[in-house]
């Protein structure tokens, strides 16, 4: 162990006492041949294994981080942000009979046409779903039939 100077506030002992203490606890071991090499070889071998392990862990963490980053980028690209939507507006096709343009043909569409006809209100020629050139009760019935048509699913 290192020999350090005594500090001013600690007791001082005589050289004789110090020497006798050292002599009492002196120990000179005969270190077996190969002992040092064995300790150092094991230390270096362990170090190499641990460094390899650390390196693998670092690679694994790096790989996982990279994969996560790629997934995030892919998700971001596949689900456009509101800004992207405003830059590239999506044009949705209006289905025949979808009078209120809510993306589906239901009984409300038939109701809207029926009310407009009954009130003699302006009508849209696109509501001529049976293609006979006029928007009338037959179109209301047709839209109603389309609304309850179970072949395309219950609405």
């Amino acid at each position: 162990m290192s020999t350090l100077p005594e500090q001013p506030d600690e007791p001082i002992i005589s050289d004789t006492l110090r020497q006798d203490l050292k002599d009492l606890y002196s120990f000179t071991a005969s270190i077996p041949a190969g002992f040092d090499d064995s300790v150092l070889r094991e230390a270096k071998s362990t170090f190499t294994q641990r460094r390899r392990f650390h390196s693998r862990v670092r690679w694994a963490i790096g790989g996982i981080s990279a994969a996560a980053a790629i997934m995030l980028v892919a998700l971001r690209l596949s689900s456009p942000s509101p800004d992207r939507i405003s830059e590239h507006p999506v044009v949705m096709a209006i289905k025949p009979g979808d009078v209120d343009r809510d993306g589906k043909v239901d009984i409300l569409d038939a109701f809207v046409v029926a009310r407009r006809l009954h009130a003699h209100a302006p009508i849209d020629k696109a509501w001529d779903v049976n293609g006979d050139g006029a928007v009338d009760q037959k179109d209301v019935d047709r839209i109603g039939t389309m609304a309850v048509d179970i072949s395309g699913g219950v609405r």
Partner: protein
């Protein structure tokens, strides 16, 4: 430490050879057995080197090694005691071995053997191992004031014991 963390082979050798003998002496003091002391030294350095790479030494090397050697020595002593079941227990390993009957050292050994373990340990750490009070406090995980107190009490006993009074004669 930086060189050790980088795996510098010569750094392993340098640290080992610098602290081997002091670790061995300490281990022998605690175990009282040369073979056990060698095993303790081997385990101590194995434990120390296993911490690399990525180890930061926050205290002195001596402060780091002392409790490792001490704890491994205690474990070695227990192991040896278990192996000696049925045999007579050996002398207290930390007490000095009896030698030179009638000499001043033998008297000193006798008085030291009577000291409480904690006081004797601090006395030896300071004057045999040459550790500073702060290092002793850190190695034993006690306040520096406790170290001073134990040291003072140990020296008080030596000063007042007729067998060791002569060490304190003016």
């Amino acid at each position: 430490m930086r060189a050790l963390n980088l795996g510098d082979s010569s750094a392993f050798d340098a640290v080992y050879y610098r602290y081997r003998d002091s670790a061995l002496r300490l281990a022998h003091r605690f175990t009282g057995n040369a073979d056990d002391a060698l095993d303790v030294v081997q385990e101590t350095f194995s434990y120390f080197f296993r911490k690399f790479p990525g180890f930061r030494l926050t205290a002195s090397m001596t402060t780091f090694l002392y409790p490792v050697v001490r704890n491994l020595s205690i474990a070695a002593r227990k192991k040896r005691r278990r192996l000696r079941l049925g045999e007579m227990a050996g002398p207290d390993p930390i007490a000095p071995p009896p030698r030179e009957p009638g000499s001043s050292r033998e008297d000193l050994g006798g008085v030291l053997a009577e000291l409480p373990d904690a006081q004797r340990e601090v006395l030896l750490m300071r004057f045999v191992d040459g550790m500073a009070l702060a290092e002793i406090a850190a190695a034993l995980s006690v306040p520096e004031g406790t170290v001073k107190s134990r040291l003072h009490n140990a020296l008080h006993t030596l000063r007042n014991d007729p067998a060791t009074q002569r060490y304190f004669a003016p």
